[in-house]
Amino acid sequence: MVALLRVVARTVAFALLLALAILGLAIAVFAIQGDSRALSLPTLAQHLHLPGLRERIGEFLDRLETPGPVAWVSVAGGAGAMLTGLLLLVGALAPRRERLVVLAEEGGATLAARPRPLARVADARLEQLRGVTDAHASVRPARRHGAGSLSAVASHSQRFASSEIEQRSTAALASLAAAFGLELRVRARAGTGSARVE
């Protein structure tokens, strides 16, 4: 839920900043001339229909001051806006919880690692294998239910078969995956470009 709010908050922030930038640019361009000439602020206001908008908002605010159905619509709108603002604040300010991969827990003390260094260890192990020209591993820590995963793609030269590289890569990473309780997925592919040769 928080992850979704984070994405929404970032999207809204980007859209608002973009709109602000475009508006600023428009104002800068239309401030070149004065009076009511082509590139003047009154002309920009006409393009944006601001006088008509002012009238409509003025009428709405007049109606808002009197009790009745419009007031309830405004209350609901205000409450919705407050709720939306609160949700966007949660999305923008909620701390990102770091997910770690736990190696051992004993007596309340934990030994854990961040996913990135584990992936780099896996890359280093794979790149030491004969025939492997490039390796890319990624580690996903476990969520609430289920195990985490260690996925690796090993590129190899044309001299070796993918099945052989897959087998040796799996053997090289098995102990690392087992130690951290990660599901291991290894794929081998013939290298392209500079990854074709050892």
Binding site: L103, A104, G107, A109, T110, L111, L118, R120, A124
Partner: protein, 92 residues
């Protein structure tokens, strides 16, 4: 900072946003956080940058060094669990 004396530990890591820091007697300790636990002790977490060495013996060595440092400072009663987080590994 006792953990930096452990072979295999290259550095301590304060995190990308500098969140893992503790202030102690005016000194800034990056990579170290101490959290009070219900029994009155403090759980210490060390974010280390390690060489490519076996991690369990490394963690045990770090904990032993921290324990010795706490003994020397007379803080052994306040020292709670010591968590070791491998923040990064280096190949040197």
């Amino acid at each position: 900072m006792a953990s930096l004396a452990v072979p295999g530990v290259v550095d301590l890591d304060a995190g990308s946003s500098g969140a893992y820091v503790t202030l102690a007697e005016g000194e800034r300790l990056p990579g170290v956080t101490a959290v009070a636990v219900p029994d009155g002790r403090y759980a210490v977490t060390l974010n280390v940058v390690a060489r490519m060495v076996p991690l369990e013996p490394l963690a045990e060595a770090v904990r032993a060094h921290v324990q010795r440092a706490a003994n020397a400072a007379g803080l052994v009663a306040e020292l709670g669990p010591v968590d070791v987080v491998v923040a990064d590994v280096v190949a040197v």
